[in-house]
Symmetry: C2
């Protein structure tokens, strides 16, 4: 599946010697779900990012960025003209 966000939170979790079993309940899910999230098979709800950032003592902004990049990547994968579309989007948001 491939997920930068998932890889990152797994690294963070492991570096703090936390088990899925310990983290999952704080996000109100079971270990199976969190495992899938770390492997990129499921998405964490964006509202849960701040909670996870706190639990993992991570920078919330970093996780939000990784999370969003994963979503975008998933959307555009296999799409033609993806790079051009991205450029145009970048312009659009700068105009806001």
């Amino acid at each position: 599946m491939e997920s930068k966000f998932g890889e990152r939170i797994r690294t963070l979790r492991e570096s703090q010697n936390l088990y899925l079993r310990q983290v999952a309940p704080l996000l109100e899910m079971d270990t199976a779900q969190l495992s899938k999230i770390e492997k990129g098979f499921r998405q964490l709800k964006k509202e849960q990012i701040p909670i996870l950032a706190k639990v993992l003592k991570a920078d919330q902004k970093e996780l939000q960025t990784l999370w969003l990049a994963d979503q975008v990547l998933d959307l555009i994968k296999d799409q033609p003209n993806a790079d051009e579309a991205l450029k145009s989007v970048s312009k659009s948001i700068k105009k806001k």
Copy 2:
């Protein structure tokens, strides 16, 4: 709602003096749906872009790019760090 894709196909349709009633059946939908698509309340299925490009004598690549940009824009709107996430995605796809 705001949709570059919708605005574009409406312009194309009108410039050729076609009615929703004439175009919608070619996409196997009713006028209400196509109206919503042009106004950005609904999304055209990406598989239908080539059909529409042909009907409207438009450049398929142009429509695909507009369509994808709309999808991305919808995904990232109101998200923090959107520009940073986009940058990172651009890098990712160049590595493929």
